[in-house]
Symmetry: C2
Subunit: 338 residues, 2 copies
């Protein structure tokens, strides 16, 4: 069933049907309702392929989300959609796996949907010039920047927290409570991304407090998932129990770690304080509720859309915003009782 069939069924031309379908004003009410009738009756749906192909320009902003599982992204996504609409654009969402390439996905979307701009939610922090050359519209990296890449400041935009700084802050808050033997649960020491950055913050906090780094207190999970975090914590506990606090680089990892501690007979926070970074909804409802530095999802989303729209409309060049986290005090941290 094509627009041609509908036109024939109605005894009008394809352009008239097209006009009705696209809410153009210059169609008589009579013809309009007749066309709508036939469209409904035949369950006719216009082909987006054909539409996208013929349209030379759109008001669409693309959003490529890398990592469906990340619950934090769901919250950002919601606000982004609202802000994009508010700015008079439409949003095209595209989710990809953690293993997929967000730049390639973005380039594809740009091509197909004739995007005006691109929002990248989660991605690599090591873009080279040639990587982003595939993109011909402004883009904003959300929740990450280009710490390990070779892009110039002007060549991209970003909105994120200062991962190194915030991790440092989290660990220092532990130190402030009298903890000196602080374990770290990270994804990987050198993932050229979030984990590496936050691990760097952990190391700096220790250093600035005059505490020597003890690598036996650091465990890598290899992922951001709960099962792997639980297992990593088991390994750590098997190796050494000599710590009074734990810094986890994400909420989900922290929650799994608390369970591992509990299973090993160590109470949280009495026997081990736990702090993390993220601030997802879930960790506010687990017991004990998690103390964490929350990434302000709404602010990140709003800022990202604002920057992108400004760029699209020619009001700005590459801009980089770092938003501050907010401490959400839970019940997982207490003063060192040793």
């Amino acid at each position: 069933m094509t627009i041609k069939d509908i036109a024939a069924l109605c005894g009008v031309s394809v352009s008239t049907v097209s006009r009705v379908l696209n809410n153009h004003p210059d169609v008589s009410a009579q013809v309009r309702s007749r066309v709508m009738e036939v469209v409904q009756a035949n369950h006719y749906i216009p082909s987006n392929s054909a539409r996208d192909l013929v349209r030379t320009r759109s008001d669409a902003i693309g959003l490529v989300v890398r990592g469906t599982a990340n619950p934090f992204f769901a919250e950002v996504l919601k606000t982004m959609e609202a802000k994009v609409t508010e700015a008079g654009y439409t949003m095209v969402l595209h989710q990809i796996g953690t293993c997929d390439d967000e730049l390639q996905a973005g380039a594809m979307l740009e091509r197909d949907k004739k995007l005006r701009g691109l929002l990248l939610l989660g991605g690599r922090s090591d873009y080279a010039k040639n990587d982003v050359a595939a993109l011909n519209v402004p883009f904003v990296c959300c929740t990450y920047d280009n710490s390990y890449g070779t892009l110039g400041e002007e060549e991209y935009s970003s909105v994120s927290i200062d991962d190194e700084q915030e991790a440092c802050r989290a660990v220092k808050s532990l130190i402030g409570k009298g903890h000196r033997r602080i374990a770290a649960l990270i994804s990987a020491r050198n993932d050229r991304s979030i984990s590496e950055l936050r691990y760097g913050g952990y190391r700096r906090a220790l250093k600035e407090a005059g505490i020597a780094l003890d690598e036996t207190l650091v465990e890598e999970t290899g992922s951001f998932q709960m099962p792997e975090a639980y297992e990593a914590m088991e390994r750590l506990l098997k190796r050494t129990g000599e710590f009074t606090a734990l810094f986890a680089i994400s909420d989900a990892m922290a929650v799994a770690a608390i369970k591992a501690l509990d299973d090993a007979g160590r109470r949280v926070p009495e026997d081990c304080s736990v702090i993390a970074i993220d601030g997802i909804t879930m960790s506010a409802y687990t017991l004990p509720t998690l103390s964490t530095l929350i990434q302000p999802a709404d602010q990140i989303a709003a800022e990202a859309v604002r920057i992108l729209v400004d760029r699209i409309e020619g009001r700005a060049a590459g801009r980089h915003v770092q938003v501050a986290t907010i401490l959400r005090p839970g019940r997982s941290v207490c003063v060192n009782q040793e």
Copy 2:
């Protein structure tokens, strides 16, 4: 940059470029490598719109996921993708919000991507004949069926748990532990879907045990989210504390309820046992770990793909599979101690 530009740049025709791009064998190695070179250098990406438009048939199976937030779906999705590939098809994923219409989204996808079949993950349980008339390929409803609809058995396929039966089983397990005053945390009494079905199972379990239904022990959350579940639990606790166990229709709701109970000074399971249905990863890592009936994600996914492929290849008519849940014993249930 179009295929024409690439052709011009290479000094060949568009058909040759097309052949290279689609891995057709009849192109000389020399020309092939030259074309690839130019494609890479120019970051050329073929237009999917144009491709989809011209292609009359594909090997694609569409997957429409309704409700990004649902962590259970993420697990099903993964297995589905593997099984679809294994069967020699490609998968096209499309995520929509809880408020969107999965049939419309599916019809659109079918049209655009020339689908051979459709997998619907999460959806309404009350389709009428006219609703599904928009679909021209076989489809399988996953995690739900048509309990409240008017479809004939032959008109669709489904893979799900028996929500009423499993809820009944969950509540009976509570009764078996000596509980008689059992509260229920549901989404809505009459959502014509999961919540209504599971609430029905709750009522039947009570009835068959000779326990009168006490509506004051039933609270509606209006959603499946944790904050709403927490608040609903607060309302319930404010109204009455006279229950020794709680049945929640989902894991996430149960975890939030446990937190509400804890905040109200009631220990789980000592003061109140809690059981739910779902079996998401998260609830195995909260404290106390949740006792729940797990929906076997892998089995649902595998079964759904098998049914769909059978239908596509003409080996079967509408088929309906109900998979059994598996009890995952946690620490949230104990014998009634009153």
